[in-house]
Each structure stands twice: as C-alpha cells, then as structure tokens.
C-alpha cells in the first residue's frame, strides 16, 4: 500500500505490468517488488524444496525469495530478482516452482513431508537400485525441486561486451562511495563510479537522516550532479561489479536495457572488463535474518528493507507492523513508520537494554517463538523477560545485525576475519592489491563514519597515484554507535530457516554437525547452505554461527567459506556476448571469392578462410556429380583452382639457407636458384608439424609455403626459430600470404593453357620456378602439382587476383576444362597419396608417413634429436592405402582397422583411416590410413569398422599412391 506523501518517486501510477496474469499498476522508479507490495501482493514465490509460500524479503540484489520469470518465448529469463527488476509498461512476469498456481501449489505436500526431507535425504534414500537414479529418481526430483526454467528456444536478444580503464574505480555509490568518488574526481583522477542500483545514493535513499542539513537523498543528488558534470568521471548505474581479478581488473555487468521493453535499440546487458589502477570498495552491508520458528512467511522482512520501501518507494509493507532485532535498527524502523502514520504494534528486542519509546511497546529480552498465516503473516507469538503473548501483525521487520558486503575482497583468495565486537566478518587487509575498503563494507555503520572513510580512502589512493588530494571536509551526519548483541537463533523447537532460497534450517546444519560434516566446507555441501543463486548473502554467517555452536567452537575457529565471482548472477549471454554465430570472427576471402559465388560455388570454411567446395553445372544435382566431373576434367583436360590460402613466407638474408636447413628436416641449402623442393618441418618433439614447398628465388631469397591450416602456427614457429633458437643467423622473414594471389593450373592441357596466357612461353622443368609477366603484371610461375597431373601455380600480387582467376577459368574452359573446388582437389590428392593435415595430425612421424629418409643426417634441425629417440621410428602405425575388397564398397575417414576375424573393439585396433573418397578415375572407394607395420602388409586384407556410421568393410592394404605411381603424368 502506498503511503501518501512518502517516497522519492514522482508521477502517478501510470505503468501497467503483469504478474501471474493479473495487471497491476506501478510508478517510474519502482522495482517489481516495490510495485507488488504497493498493490498488497505479498505471496510472490514458492520455496525451492518445500514449496513454502514466500514473499519479498529484501530491497536489493541479495534477495533470496522473490525470484520470478520475466518475458515469454525465446526472450524468457528465469530467476530474476523482483527487487532488481524495474517495472516498465508491458512488463510480463510470472511466479516459479508452483503448480497449478502460486496459491494452490500441489507440491506443498513436500512441506508436510519435511520431517523426512532433511539434509542428506537424497543421498541416503535414492541409493538403490543403482540404475534408477538417472532414469527415475533424478527426473522426478528435478521436477519437484527447482526454480525457473529456460524456454529452450535460442535467445535472439543482443548483449555486448566492453572494456574501460580508469585511475580509480569506486564500487558503490552510498555515502562512502560518493565521498570517495568526489574526492578523487576533484583531484582530477579518471574515476568510474559503479553502482548496481538504478539510482545512485545507496542508503541515503532509504533513510531519513540528514546530511549537511539536507535530507540524505538531496545531498546525494547534489554530489551526483557535480560528478555528472565532470569530464574525468564516468557514472555507471545499474552496473554490478561482479568480480575482482589480477592486475586491477574488475568484471562488471551493466543492465543496459532490462528496464525497458525488449526489442529496442539497446542491448539487454553489457559485460565490462574494467582495468583500474586503484579501486575503492564501498559496497555497504547486508542485513541478516534471525532463525526463529517459521521465520519464512510472506510479510517477514529485513528491517532495512521495510525502511527502504517506506522512505524510497512510499510503500508500507504492512498495516500493523512488529519489529524484532538484536540492535537499534528496529527502533529506527519503528520511528520512520510512526512518522509516516503506519501502525507499529511493538518492538521485540532480544537485548537486556534498549531504547524505549512512548509511542510503541518494547519487549526486552524478547524473542519470536512462532508465526502463523497460510499465505502471509497473520500473527506471531513472542516471549520476553516478563512473560509471553500472541500479537496480530501482518509485517514483521527483522534485524539480526549487518554483514559487510566484502565479497570482492575474497575473490583473490583472502579470507575475511571475524570481529566479535561487531558480530561480523570484516575484510582482510591487503586482500586485493590496489583495493581499499571504506564505510559499511569494512564495518563502519554510521553515516558520518562512512562519509569520513570515503574521503580518507580516496586520499590514500590519490597518494598512491601521486595525485594531490583536494581539501574536502566530511559533511555533518548522524554518528550513532552500532550496539549489537549477537543473536543467531531463538532457542527451542520448530523449523527455523537459515537459507531461505535453498530451504536450509537450523536442524539441517545441526544434523550435518552430528553426522560429522563439521568443517564449514562440508556442512555447506551437505546441506546446500549458501549454494543457491543468492550465495547465502542473508544466511551464511548465521549458519556458521549455528555450526560453531553445534560443534562447541567459536565462529572465528569455525571459519568461513570464501566468496568467488560473480557477486551476483551473470547471464551466460552477457559473458558470451559477441560469440553468438559468427560473432566477431573475421571472414578471410580469397580474391576469387566473388567469381566463385557467381558460378554458384558453395563455400567451405577452412579456418577463417572461405573456399569453394565445387562449381555446379547445369543438370548436376549432387556435390558428387560436380566433384566427379571436376576430377575428370583435371585428369583429362585442365582445371583451375585458387590456392592462395596456403601460407607463403618470404625468407631473405645472407643466412637464409642455413636458417632453412635448421627449420626443415631436409636440406634446402643445396637447392639451386629457380628450383622448388618439397620439405617437411618437425616439431621439437620429433613429430611432423607441416609440409610444403620451398622455392629458391635468388641467392639469398626463398619462398616457403605452408598448408592452409598451419600457416599461423608455422609463421610463429619460424619466428621462434629465428628469435629464440638461432638469433645468431642473419635472416629476415615475413608472411606474404595475403600479398599474393596464387592459382593452380593442372591437367594434360595445362601447357596449352599457359601458352594462351603468356606472351613469352616459359620452358620450366618439373619443380622449377621463374619470374614471369602475365598480361603486363610481374608474377611468379612454379611447376608443382598437388594433383599428380602436369601442373603449374601462377602467383600475382593480390590486387590482380580477381582478374587473373577469371582469365584462367575462361582459358581453361576453352581447353575443355574449368574451375574446380576443394572436393575435387581432395579426391585428386587422395588418388596420389598426397598428405594434408588429416594425415599430419600432430601424432605422426616422418617414418609413419614414409618420409623417414628425408631427415638429413649431417646437420642439426628442429626435431632431429627427438625424432631419433626410441619408439618414433620402429613398431609404428604406417601410412597405407586401402581399397574395398568385399561386398561393402564405402570407406570413411575415422574408421578403425582390425584383422578380418578380430572383434571390432578398441583393444584389437591396428590402425585407423584419415581420408576417404570415391575415385572416379579408378572407379572405386579409396582411403588413406595408418596401419601397424603397414608398409610390410601391402596385399593383406583388413577390416575397417566405423562405429558411428555402422560400417564394416573388408579392404585390401596397398601403396598410398593409388594412381600413376611412377609420376609420369606430372612430368608431362
């Protein structure tokens, strides 16, 4: 119910929103929680395990109870805290974990069964039969216990990630944070002030205290106005600092568009990485609950939340309010309620002495011993120093004291320290390098203390940064001492809740202690205390205290679990922003890309490159038809394909030859000018890294090519060899992959095509290289072949690539050929037993590949020593060819090889296949693979089994070069 004249919201109830199908009205600035309370909706959720009715407990991100689902369909978001979600026109929300309705929830039967459902119930009960767990027990339990559900549809909403840098990051914009930010900002430092709330000001918005003679929120507004006008300040409201990381890095989640209808220009959320030279944590404190019987009914709330709803949102959460506390907070709440005209029935104070008031009854040494009310609080029973009674009340505001919000100080591993006088954990000193803590977050609870500490923390921070601090005085404000006498639970029987979100009671913690889960980490996992989405912000310390009591130890001795990031839940979508679909991955396109698309070529992704799969012609309906035709075209006429994606590395310098001898297993120093040689590079562990060609273009000038897949790795490796291993060599290397477009021209009519292309015919021997002029452009010609046919590769500067490709294809078509794609290229190379990274997969040696003799003996090279160690050159799986030899003709890559009569189980495997195709040239399926001692087994029969595709194929082992074994075709 709204209280006339109270609150900071302006405007009328002109926002319409829905909760569980009913339309309600709220105001700009309302959260879903404040708007529901204003509409007297108290029952908003069912609890996780027992399906108990629950209401709003807090007014902040620590909320354990009021979780709802926002939106529908793909945009549906579960487990949204009603205390954080702002209302907007059209906001559609639903309760969770209740069926058929929130009021009549069938699974509330769990509550009646609660004597059987204590901690460890699942572990003890659903043990046998073993197979039942996955199929029966778990699905039932998952349906019964749980929070909101995902829609299952792909989320189309936009999320973003961003980076920011500053001198001083101030976390939290309450009195301490505002003073810290103001001090640092006036000194000229780059300041980011982040606060998770939609409106900055912290508790100044929720309290009636004056600061410098003005209401706290007015003072805060003036400070914020000043900050907003400064160029060196960035204000980030709705931004939660979620984690502290090394080197002054902080994660931050900004709710950019969650307070507006979806589908607008704004992303929903943004995930920030903020790098701060220094940070000041002013995150305030969170009020604790007290464990008393049935302390979880709707209407039972944190006292600070009751003040916040009243003073900030102008909402009275009840009509007859009672208070229960072990400190002065309840009295502060009572005064505020009375001033607003709300009836206060009484204050139950657990201490021997407490402030007394003529306006309400105070029960000293008081405690709440029970509560009643089916869907919300109706009455409480209390005991006090002079008796007991029952009180009719619809709202009980509780304060068990305050826990400093020190979570970020634990993120790098530091443990908070117990301070008995404050009955709270305080942040450890120096917990996060570069981070200071000020205000309530370090246990200073008075407004004056917070203001002064904010200034002080900023001064010290500025001194660290060698920035002169301005003269700034702390404003006048209340300076009441914090008087508390710890009370964790009310003695006696009954179910006393600790963790409202995970339904953990005092009894569960005591049971854990009895069953010897006495370590705080064990107790946590056995009872699930603090493991819900709120991470036990309200309840952890009380649960520790109960455990300490049950095990006869002190709280300090019992210790605490530490907090890990994130401080509050972060949606995966925000963290993964930019990673959906293609995300930020660049597209590397060859110069022939447009021409390939024009010819209808579907594209294959090869790393970041896009390469044409095949070039369909009229009448062809499957890729195989196109591929077979293109293979035949290359074998019988001439084909053109773009090979620009292969890595090209230019190597120059007086020691270029020595350098190449060092990085290649074979020798390149003996290569003559104008010649090309095939080479292999090893990793230092002796396995093959990559293969390719090396052309000597001049006395001290080589061009190395790599496979497409390994281009980056080889470049990095060559840089490593040059800078780290052989800095003594005078050699320079540079990647030239993108500077040159290169096309393969292959087939018996390749020579004729070249004659059409070039004005001056070039006589080039096999494995020769020459500078040429193509249509007036200086280029390079190599006579190399990856198809086994007479073949050339022509390279021109990339800006001429598009034109040259079109010209080559036209000329090829004139010779009865045309363009061919990756599919045909792959078939052509399998027919010839040429290698790709299917075979060079990182676990094969030169010996395995039949290239053992390429390893030169008279020189050192990368991988030489390790390649010579035992086990790398004998008793290995060796490269072989395979052809179908039985009724089944299909071969696949990834199949395992077995003896024909061996059971197809992993232990009997003798090898595997790496590449397979149908060869139109030979009219049969072919595969390359590795078979134990395979080179000695040509002619034998083995069985290829592909378990995934359900294939079992008898094959003949043969030489991996299936076609033209003596290489006569390439010689022309």
């Amino acid at each position: 119910m709204r209280v006339a004249g109270k609150g900071l919201l302006e405007g009328g109830d002109d926002i319409a929103f829905r909760f569980d199908g009913t339309t309600y009205r709220g105001r700009a600035g309302d959260t879903l929680a404040s708007a529901l309370l204003a509409n007297d909706v108290r029952l908003v959720a069912r609890s996780f395990k027992y399906h108990r009715p629950r209401g709003v407990f807090t007014a902040g991100s620590e909320e354990p109870n009021a979780l709802v689902t926002v939106g529908r369909g793909a945009a549906q978001v579960p487990n949204v805290r009603a205390t954080v979600q702002e209302v907007y026109d059209g906001l559609d929300t639903r309760s969770q974990n209740a069926w058929p309705s929130l009021k009549h929830d069938a699974l509330a039967i769990n509550d009646a069964l609660s004597p059987f459902l204590g901690a460890g119930f699942y572990y003890k009960t659903f043990m046998w039969p073993r197979g039942f767990w996955e199929k029966l027990y778990e699905p039932i339990i998952r349906r019964a216990a749980g929070l909101g559900a995902l829609s299952g549809a792909a989320n189309e909403d936009r999320y973003e990630k961003a980076f920011a840098f500053c001198d001083v990051l101030v976390i939290g914009a309450g009195p301490a944070g505002l003073m810290a930010a103001l001090t640092a900002a006036r000194a000229g430092a780059d300041v980011i002030l982040a606060d998770e709330d939609q409106r900055m000001g912290g508790r100044t918005l929720a309290e009636t205290h004056q600061i410098d003679g003005a209401p706290g929120h007015v003072w805060a507004g003036e400070v914020l106005d000043e900050l907003a006008g400064m160029e060196n300040v960035r204000l980030m409201p709705r931004t939660t600092i979620t984690g502290a990381y090394d080197q002054g890095t902080y994660g931050a989640l900004e709710r950019v568009g969650l307070h507006r209808p979806p589908g607008g220009a704004l992303p929903r959320e943004g995930f920030w990485r903020i790098v701060a030279r220094r940070a000041i944590l002013c995150a305030g404190a969170i009020e604790r609950h007290v464990a008393f019987p049935d302390n979880d009914r709707p209407g039972i709330m944190a006292a600070s939340a009751v003040r916040a709803y009243l003073n900030r949102w102008g909402v009275a959460p009840g009509q007859a309010v009672t208070l229960f506390a072990n400190n002065d907070d309840a009295h502060r709440t009572a005064t505020d309620l009375l001033d607003a005209g709300v009836k206060v029935v009484g204050v139950i104070d657990s201490r021997d002495e407490a402030p007394v008031s003529p306006d309400y009854e105070t029960f000293l040494r008081g405690r709440v011993t029970g509560t009643a009310g089916r869907h919300g609080l109706e009455e409480i029973t209390i005991a006090h120093k002079s008796g007991g009674r029952t009180i009719r009340t619809d709202c009980l505001a509780v304060s068990g004291g305050w826990n400093p919000t020190l979570h970020l100080t634990s993120h790098l591993g530091a443990r908070p320290e117990w301070a008995p006088g404050r009955a709270a954990f305080l942040p450890a000193k120096g917990a996060v390098p570069g981070l200071r803590v000020a205000g309530a977050a370090r246990g200073t609870f008075s407004t004056a203390g917070c203001l002064a500490e904010g200034i002080q923390a900023a001064r010290r921070t500025l001194a660290d940064l060698d920035i002169a601090a301005p003269d700034i005085a702390a404003p006048e404000a209340e300076d009441a001492p914090y008087r508390i006498k710890a009370l964790w639970q009310v003695p006696g029987d009954g179910r006393k809740w600790l963790d409202l979100q995970n339904d953990v009671t005092v009894k569960d913690v005591e049971l854990a202690a009895r069953e010897n889960f006495r370590s705080v980490e064990h107790m946590k996992r056995y009872t699930t205390q603090g493991m819900a989405t709120d991470q036990g912000k309200i309840s952890n310390v009380a649960a520790l205290a109960v455990l300490a009591e049950a095990t006869g130890r002190g709280v300090a001795e019992t210790g605490t679990t530490t907090f890990r990031p994130p401080f509050s839940p972060v949606s995966i979508a925000a963290m993964g922003a930019g990673g959906q679909g293609e995300g930020f991955a660049p597209r590397r396109l060859t110069t022939s890309h447009a021409a390939s698309l024009e010819r209808g070529a579907p594209m294959l992704e090869a790393g970041l490159w896009y390469r044409p799969a095949y070039f369909p012609r009229l009448g062809e309906t499957t890729w195989r038809q196109s591929c077979d035709r293109e293979v035949g075209m290359v074998r019988e006429a001439v084909g053109v394909t773009d090979v620009s994606t292969l890595g090209k590395i230019d190597v120059q310098g007086p020691d270029a030859a020595a350098f190449l001898d060092f990085v290649y297993a074979n020798r390149m120093s003996t290569l003559a000018e104008g010649r090309v040689r095939y080479g292999i590079m090893l990793r230092e562990d002796g396995f093959v890294m990559d293969d390719g060609t090396c052309a000597r273009l001049g006395p001290a000038h080589y061009l190395v090519t790599t496979t497409t897949a390994a281009a980056g790795q080889v470049m990095r490796h060559l840089d490593f060899a040059r800078q780290v291993l052989r800095p003594d060599l005078d050699v320079g290397i540079a990647s030239a992959t993108e500077q040159w477009a290169q096309f393969a021209v292959a087939g018996p009519r390749a020579g004729a095509l070249l004659a059409d292309l070039l004005d001056d015919p070039v006589e080039l021997p096999l494995m020769g290289a020459a500078e040429i002029e193509v249509a007036g452009v200086r280029g390079r010609l190599f006579r190399i072949s990856f198809s086994g046919e007479l073949g050339y590769e022509i390279a021109v500067p990339a800006r001429f690539g598009a034109a040259l490709f079109r010209l080559l294809v036209t000329l090829a078509e004139g010779q009865g050929g045309g363009a061919y794609g990756m599919e045909a290229l792959n078939v052509l190379r399998i027919e010839k037993g040429f290698l790709t990274h299917a075979e060079l997969h990182g676990r094969t040696t030169a010996h395995d590949l039949g290239l053992g003799r390429m390893m030169a003996t008279g020189k050192d090279f990368v991988g030489r020593a390790a390649a010579g160690r035992p086990g790398l050159c004998e008793d290995r799986e060796e490269l072989v060819g395979l052809r179908p030899a039985g009724a089944v003709k299909q071969l696949t890559a990834g199949g395992f090889l077995f003896a024909p009569d061996a059971p197809p189980e992993r232990v009997h495997a003798q090898g595997y296949t790496t590449s397979a195709c149908f060869s139109p040239t030979l009219g049969t399926g072919l595969a390359l693979g590795f078979l134990r001692d395979g080179r000695a087994r040509h002619g034998e029969t083995v069985k290829m089994v592909d378990h995934l595709r359900g294939l079992s194929v008898l094959c003949e082992v043969c030489d991996p070069v299936f076609f033209d074994p003596d290489g006569g075709r390439a010689r022309g």
């Binding site: 470049m715 990095r716 490593f720 800078q723 780290v724 020593a865 390790a866």
Partner: protein, 84 residues
C-alpha cells in the same frame, strides 16, 4: 591479464600466445637426458618464473618474468636479446 610488449606497450593477454618455460635448447643434436629435460621436465616454482610468449600482432617472442604466487608481472623483454 596484461603483458608489457616492449614494442607495443601493455596489451591484453588475448593478443599473446603462450609457449612455456624459457629454457636453453640443448647443444647436442642427438637424443639424451638434456633433451628429455628440455622437452618434458618442468619445475613448478612458487614464485618467480620466466616463460615465453609470442605477441601475435608484432611477431615478437618475449621472455616474461612473473610471479606464480602473486600473479604479478615483473616485465618482458625480447627473447632475441636474451630476454634479460
């Protein structure tokens, strides 16, 4: 994590590729214990460590000195200059 590239300044670790401990390659071209150590055996120091990182944008191999306990990065120098 950010590393200081001597050429480019302090950069995000996403620009770097990690290699491993900065060790001297054995002189012998033939397999032996020194090679086994170089390839496989690593100290696991609590404290200062020197390892190799490649700064992809500028193509420089760096020896980075950092602390495995505090995660502090003390500095980086080109490996070609001895990584001092």
């Amino acid at each position: 994590m950010r590393l200081p590239c001597p050429h480019c300044g302090v950069r995000d670790r996403r620009e770097f590729t990690y290699q491993g401990a900065a060790l001297a390659r054995p002189d012998s071209p033939d397999w032996g214990e020194a090679w086994d150590d170089y390839l496989h055996n690593r100290d696991n120091p609590a404290g200062e460590t020197r390892d190799l990182w490649y700064h992809d944008p500028c193509g420089t191999w760096l020896v980075v000195t950092r602390d495995t306990v505090s995660h502090a990065v003390h500095g980086a120098a080109p490996a070609a200059e001895g990584g001092a």
